[in-house]
Subunit: 300 residues, 2 copies
């Protein structure tokens, strides 16, 4: 049963766990009130799917609670176009919804399945594991700073940066491929520094990151200094790339698996024994950052 | 795994379906901005559990997305007191959450389980079935009109009316008891007239209601005229009682089952062949109401 009855009824296959993630996006906090509704529809689902990706789950169902100041049919149509294009891409069925009047906000809850005993947790990292990330980091933060007028991005890179900011793509295939390879994983929503700290705390060890290894896009390199690029990569939010740890022994398996799904990835550091924390190295020497992590209680 | 990792992982027992319901409550639309936070915490969960009750499901898990204009620790503490008191009563575990800054709103998603092939749908009513409701109707609407200053409620009934308005109790036990007895069911959130119309449309037949049979509380009878009482019962929202249909053959079974869980219920009409609609009778003659249904796009 889908929307219409009081509840959606879902059949979870035997020997699988249900993975559930819920996120709220509020106008003026998580996105600009005048954001293109198609991009917003895409992003509202993408950030939730990213949580499933971080777990290695197979996306199955989604529910959508939309709060709107007024019934604007054209806006709703465009929002749904963005939302359902992504839903169809991953074969995710809408199984419930709610539409209410009020200040613009969107709550999405995605549900996926995982074979029992598989899920990628934050607590599984082992001493000696390599630390990896998919894609390039900081591009969404670069896009935000561009919109705010703080950074000028060369014309050739504008479309790329806007796309990374408005159209994050959840790393579903990479997450699934990492199920049997990674020891821990999460998605980068609040900046590498703060997010990786979750893995260090949950796993009880420290992480060492080599700044030179952090993958920066050509757009980033052409728009800001290296130091500014690292700052955006480490503390900027909304990248929705995966960060994960893999034992050296599985390195070959990792390369095959991610090559198979066409996802670029980079080794940026290693897990060590020690007090849970993230340590930054530049040319072998400790490096101190100014800001810490993306704060959702800070207005964009 | 509970909150903390990217997703909650839930184990759904074999041969059961997962029932999922999501609702958003927005300040100034679904509740007054100055509503007692403990009552609000209770109500936010209660209206969702009511959807599970309407399906006959066993509540298991809940996720909570809270959007607040500022971090007010005392408010959050009181909200959680109301929310978790009800969650513990039904042994519902929190398995995810999100807290963001923005205009006050609350999205709750509850998950329950149902033996395969059981769920109470809206489409199962049969010609000749009796139409029943639990409890008394219209009391929450009476409470709203009292707060708005439109109706004066005698001193002796004020606490009762306030409680029905702020502390709706989901009919979980009744819903479970009705699983093998009722042919259709839903919960009354928008008023009997509009809600019962869903059953008539889904089941493809008409409903005949005898106004004299509609259960009105002593508070209602002492506060307004009979006609006003019916109006509030038929078009007022927020009652969260169950409305369901039962074949005459199962009447004895129904009485035993609901007596067992201590829930009062009343037979208010019957299903007939005909164009899907709700027909009102007063002393055997057609009766016309003014307003239609509770509109969430109408400010309280």
């Amino acid at each position: 049963m889908g929307p219409g009855d009081d509840c959606a009824l879902l059949q979870v296959p035997p020997n699988t766990l249900l993975a559930v993630s819920t996120d709220t996006l509020v106008s003026g906090v998580h996105f600009f009130a005048d954001m293109d509704p198609t991009a917003l529809g895409h992003k509202a689902l993408a950030v939730n799917l990213s949580d499933l990706a971080a777990m290695g789950a197979d996306p199955c169902w989604v529910s959508l609670a939309l709060t709107l100041p007024e019934v604007d049919e054209e806006w709703i149509k465009q929002f749904c176009a963005g939302f359902f294009e992504l839903a169809e891409y991953y074969n995710v069925a809408l199984v419930g919804g709610d539409m209410t009047k009020g200040p613009l906000s969107i709550t999405v809850s995605v549900k996926g399945t995982l074979p029992e005993g598989k899920g990628l947790k934050r607590s599984g990292a082992q001493v000696g594991d390599g630390i990896y990330v998919t894609g390039t980091l900081g591009d969404a933060a670069l896009g935000l700073q561009k919109v705010l007028g703080n950074i000028t991005v060369p014309e050739a890179h504008k479309a790329f940066v806007r796309n990374k900011f408005e159209h994050p793509h959840p790393r579903i295939l990479a997450g699934q491929a990492l199920r049997d390879i990674a020891t821990s994983a999460l998605d980068l929503s609040d900046g590498l520094m703060g997010d990786l700290a979750h893995i260090t705390r949950a796993s009880g060890m420290r992480a060492q990151i080599e700044l030179e290894q952090i993958p920066l896009s050509a757009a980033m390199q052409d728009s800001v200094s290296k130091e500014q690029g690292w700052e955006l990569a480490l503390t900027g939010g909304d990248d929705y790339e995966l960060c994960f740890t893999v034992p050296e022994l599985h390195r070959g398996q990792l390369e095959m698996a991610l090559a198979h799904c066409g996802v670029k990835f980079t080794r940026i550091g290693r897990m060590f024994t020690g007090i849970p924390d993230v340590e930054l190295l530049l040319e072998g020497h400790p490096y101190q950052l100014q800001s810490q992590s993306w704060d959702h209680f800070r207005q964009p």
